[in-house]
Symmetry: C2
């Protein structure tokens, strides 16, 4: 038995070193580009250094702790990170918010809170919501305490019975004119709040979303600032039934909770009253259609889309490095076993995911730009671009999360047996992406919304009316223009994807029209056309991603990049576009003619693109510049000493701390003896 | 707050009852058919009754236990089940093996060992391997003890460095002529055994797969019976380094282990010598090509394929029942919220998975028949059908596991937020299917094997030579016959899928030929054609599944079924075939002409098939007849009281046992106070 079994060498694995030496471009250029400039990259590294420097235990050892220990670790680490981020904000950019609280809900800190942050919702949603929905006085009274982390809170919206359909929420806030209070009640089991992050045992306050009733008349959903637990003792206040909703497939330490009320009274002035109001005599003043509420939601979706591009990139980093270290199955018998990254099917598992992560990052960058522009417009009183932003955020949230979920699972599978070990950290990445498919707008529901937007756009296009920029590709097809000729060059592929998207939009529109003619309501027709609407929405999103990627690689910014780096981006673009065309080939073939030889060429181009990316693959994922602690993977660390890491971590399993488990005497031996 | 929150009603949820009342067919007819007859169904229910009757705790509470507790539970429950199965075998069919040990490695008992069975490998592989590879004397000496559970063991094959490529195994067994012993050694870290189920702390013996060396000359991989731990004390024997490989994403209690040797000596007579032999003077007698070793592997793959059809069916049961209970999002505004199963996009998430589970069950039934026939042939000395059986088992293992993994995840997502809770049990089903994609032949590696078989078949077909039955559809296309006309009837769709498969085989064959002409070796060419080979193999497998489903529904057996039940099967077949055609539409369109209206018709047919299946969906999954304990799901029990179950289970989380966690005083409060 080899002696080194318990220590992990810091030396870089020679196979990885060889890959790095052989790259055709400079990794640091990639890393600067990926992070938006040298300064941002430097800052990120500084931050990581500070966040991670005192962490010693491997993150995946978490899985040996008890549920309660994990909860405690989540609290402790969340507070540690908050302190560090505040200190860094103070030091680097005092008065700003780019580090604290902004990064507190970003993926970059996950490596420092592997259990998940029970206060993520407090800082990603609750603080903003009080700012936007509360009066200035309410901000002073509650908001600042929340922002200052003097109290803990969450945004309590989803109920056992209602997530997607918010108007269906059942929790009641009845106004009692005599005492000028709201009386909070949970009228049924399904009305229990269920899911809010941190609600279980971590928070003493919440921003409650409930149905306002005045004289038993429903006035719609409003927000209320509610104390849940005593600040000194943490005991739930009278009438409050609170706890956590139990074990989940991921986010083990986020302490998502349930909450029921029985005649809990709060002062009238605890309703958020910047927009809607309840006056002391019970007069209800409606809110002017609040664009800003809606805007927080859009912002969250932008963030999720961007985070999921990174999740996919992190899984791709792990699987790619592992594939360069792992050797298996000689290609020619009697030759040595190759790195598995040399099996062409393996390349097809890795490289399209790398290309997709890059495509999604560029698309979400572009989404963020649109977000800030629209924000500026709104501050100038113009709302015209909001629907487009909203729909783009829905599309990209749905596609980036779905692709990260499925892609990370493909990457996990690409690591063979060892990808099944928790110490690979891959299934945790999969589980994070999986959650994002559901929260902040379930993906199908989002795609259906986009589908309805596309129906309006198609109608406008057919009538020759102006279209928003992201839907402009519908104009020509709606006016009956054909695709023209398939040439297969990159711009032509992007056009083909757009044309196929337009064709799906047309088909859905015609089906809708048919159903409306049969007397179905708009909503029934939309439900019955749901399959075609979601297909159209998906292709619409892919069109945007493809067009953005093309523009980025071939646009003016190329001049700022080295030729070597541009070649890498071109290879990634080529793979992404040809692969996307193949993935949606049936939609393309439905409206564009490709000859037998065109189709063969596509297949060959994929193979060629894989071959071209092969020597650069490891360096590309190095360029994502994930910290080892962020990856937390025995298979994917920078040094790549995979077998040593696997072994060292296995040795730390609690069961391996003694040669004979105590159950031998109590369970195993008696059973075996009974069979003698 | 409602009073009933802690108890779960046994009354059937009214929405589910309504579904059951409205079914167009008799569930019991379905259940009998699904289980292969009334007697088998009765037996299964009897078995379940006995296995589950004394279990009280919800299986998903497992996730609150410590790693060591889960390990103990795995041991205890595995022994309980073994005792019960042996007693039932004894009572129901003494001397047989249809209950014990056969069912010990089946999915049906998973509900009784939710942690996973550390002795699964002992009874699924080790016993058989000793029987087939050991001499009669060895069987008497070792085998019987293993079979009788006097000792515990596993089949130790995979190493840290080698899973797929068996010839690469590094563990050494050097023959020492002087003492007539083998000396076992682990020459490097990567040579450590790694993965065998139960190896960690559960077994005292193993069947070791190692490289035999005689006078330092390698003689290939052989099997050795090796004692690992003392029977009385369970201490590892001298020179043995053993433990478990650590936490995994599933199978928490199966105690997969590692194993290293340092000069461990075993007698010569511990090598399995039915076929290969080492004589006392060190003469090596080669094994006659052992078909039987190979046959165990084929059998395992048949089993895995069949199990995964059931896994998918179980996930479909949970998600379908939940979708009938869950109400969300009014279709027409101001109308009540529908059961989510009435959203067409939701139907598309559920029903194709149900149809796929049925298709896979029928295909694996057919695979089993072929298995038994081939077994019979072999006993009569005829080996001709073995390659076909082998390849069909590879195809179906790969497709049934991949579809179960992805399908169960789609079904999990279809349950929205609650599908993310461990108490839904859905992610455990996903994780089980995920493992099956990797073990017993990694899926890509299997598809590549099938691809190579198809290359040979295509050559034979082109030369007009006879083809094995499952490849016979290649004959006409290889002879240049065109497809004929797309009519879209069911038989025509099956032919189209076969024709598209043949076309992919042709394309791969041509690419191979091209590469061979360029001077690549057969193996290099196969690697470079990997993408096309796996595409061809996938379609080949789907062709078989589609053809089998069609034959079953339209064949003579239909006469034995009621008209009402036949209609249900026809609806499932229709959905399966049209959906499969859509899924592989680009492959079909590459070689078959479909008009615009043909394509529209396909879309409409999907929608129609969903509508037809809608009223029967709940009863169909009822017909799978999963015991509530097998499903172990708060979302999917027969009675369907989903919210009550979710709530009752959440209340059992350890954190919910006291109102204030102890960490409040130690962690939370100090932090909050520090911010005042
Ligand atoms: C990890 C995690 C963390 C969360 N954190 C929070 C939190 O901090 N605070 C909070 O308030 N909530 C939280 N949630 C809850 C989350 O917001 C909801 O789960 C989400 O909004 C989805 O809603 P749902 O669960 O009601 O799904 P459902 O709407 O019940 O979805 C179930 C199925 O019905 C389908 N469906 C529903 N409506 C339609 C429709 N109109 N048309 C077609 N199909 C439809 C869906 O597509 C899906 O397939 C969290 C959830 C998760 C998983
Ligand atoms: C839950 C679980 C239980 C297990 N139980 C046991 C057990 O009881 N006993 C035991 O001995 N083992 C067990 N195993 C190990 C299992 O048998 C191996 O993991 C499996 O054989 C896959 O091999 P690998 O891990 O070496 O994957 P690898 O071969 O390393 O696969 C990694 C990647 O390389 C690719 N690749 C490899 N070879 C080729 C090729 N020739 N061409 C193209 N691509 C290739 C694969 O497609 C995959 O994408 C278990 C594994 C799991 C996950």
């Amino acid at each position: 038995m080899p002696a080194q079994q318990n220590s992990v060498s810091e030396l870089v694995n020679p196979d990885l070193q060889k890959e790095r030496d052989g790259a055709s471009f400079r990794v640091d250029e990639f890393a600067r580009w990926w992070h938006g400039g040298a300064e941002k990259l430097r800052l990120k590294r500084e931050l990581e250094q500070e966040l991670f420097n005192d962490m010693t235990e491997h993150n995946t050892l978490l899985h040996y702790k008890s549920h309660e220990e994990i909860f405690e670790l989540g609290l402790k680490q969340s507070f540690e990170v908050a302190k560090k981020l505040r200190a860094m904000q103070q030091r680097i950019n005092p008065g700003g918010n780019d580090i604290w609280p902004k990064l507190y809900s970003s993926t970059w800190i996950w490596g420092a809170i592997p259990a998940g942050n029970p206060f993520g919702v407090q800082f990603a949603m609750m603080v903003d919501a009080i700012k936007m929905q509360g009066t200035d006085e309410q901000w002073e009274r509650f908001g600042k305490r929340v922002e200052n982390f003097e109290i803990t809170g969450t945004y309590a919206q989803t109920e056992l019975g209602h997530g997607t359909f918010l108007r269906g929420l059942e929790t009641r806030a009845d106004y009692d004119r005599t005492t000028q209070e709201f009386v909070l009640n949970t009228p049924s089991l399904s009305a229990y709040k269920w899911w809010p992050g941190g609600l279980g045992h971590s928070c003493n306050y919440c921003l409650l979303v409930a149905q306002l009733y005045i004289d038993n008349e429903p006035m719609g959903v409003q927000m209320f600032f509610v104390q849940l637990r005593d600040e000194e003792t943490h005991m739930p206040l009278p009438g409050i039934d609170i706890g956590e909703i139990g074990h989940k497939m991921g986010f083990y330490g986020t302490n998502n909770g349930f909450l029921g009320f029985k005649n809990v009274r709060i002062p009238r002035t605890n309703m958020m009253m910047r927009n809607a109001k309840v006056q002391s005599d019970g007069t209800f003043v409606k809110s002017p259609a609040s664009v800003l509420t809606y805007f927080t939601m859009v912002m969250m979706r932008c963030m999720i889309a961007a985070d999921n591009a990174l999740l996919l990139a992190s899984a791709a980093t792990i699987a790619t490095r592992y594939s360069a270290v792992r050797r298996q199955s000689p290609i020619n018998p009697n030759e040595p076993e190759p790195q598995i990254i040399d099996h062409v099917t393996q390349q097809m598992k890795l490289f399209p995911e790398i290309a997709t992560a890059v495509a999604h990052q560029l698309a979400t960058n572009s989404l963020w730009s649109m977000y800030y522009e629209t924000y500026g417009d709104i501050e100038r009183g113009s709302y015209t671009r909001l629907p487009e932003l909203h729909n783009l955020a829905c599309s990209l949230k749905a596609l980036c999360t779905a692709d990260a979920n499925a892609g990370a699972e493909r990457l996990r599978l690409a690591c063979g047996g060892h990808g099944y070990l928790t110490s690979s950290n891959l299934h945790i990445i999969v589980a994070s992406a999986a959650a994002a498919c559901t929260y902040e707008g379930e993906n199908t529901v989002l795609l259906l919304q986009v589908g309805r937007f596309l129906m309006k756009s198609w109608r406008a296009a057919s009538e020759g009316k102006p279209l928003t920029p992201t839907a402009r590709y519908l104009a020509a097809p709606a006016q009956g223009k054909g695709f023209g000729k398939w040439t297969g060059d990159l711009a032509n592929i992007v056009s083909a994807i757009q044309y196929a998207a337009a064709n799906k939009v047309r088909l859905a529109f015609e089906s809708m029209a048919q159903r409306l003619k049969q007397g179905q309501t708009q909503e029934e027709a939309a439900n019955n056309t749901g399959l075609e609407l979601t297909q159209a929405a998906e292709l619409h999103g892919r069109s945007f991603i493809a067009a953005t990627f093309l523009a980025h690689v071939t646009g003016p910014a190329a001049a700022e990049r080295s030729a070597a780096f541009n070649r890498v981006l071109q290879n990634l673009l080529e793979l992404y576009l040809v692969h996307t065309a193949q993935r949606h080939l049936s939609a393309i073939l439905q409206c564009i003619n490709l000859s037998d030889s065109d189709l063969r060429t596509l297949q060959t181009r994929i193979e060629t693109a894989l071959r071209k990316l092969r020597p650069d693959a490891v360096s590309i994922v190095d360029g994502f510049d994930f910290h080892d602690r962020t990856l937390s993977s025995t298979l994917g660390s920078y040094a790549g000493n995979v077998y040593e890491s696997l072994f060292a971590l296995a040795k730390q399993s609690p069961l391996n701390q003694q040669p004979v488990p105590k159950s031998f005497q109590t369970i195993l031996k008696p059973f075996l003896k009974s069979n003698l």
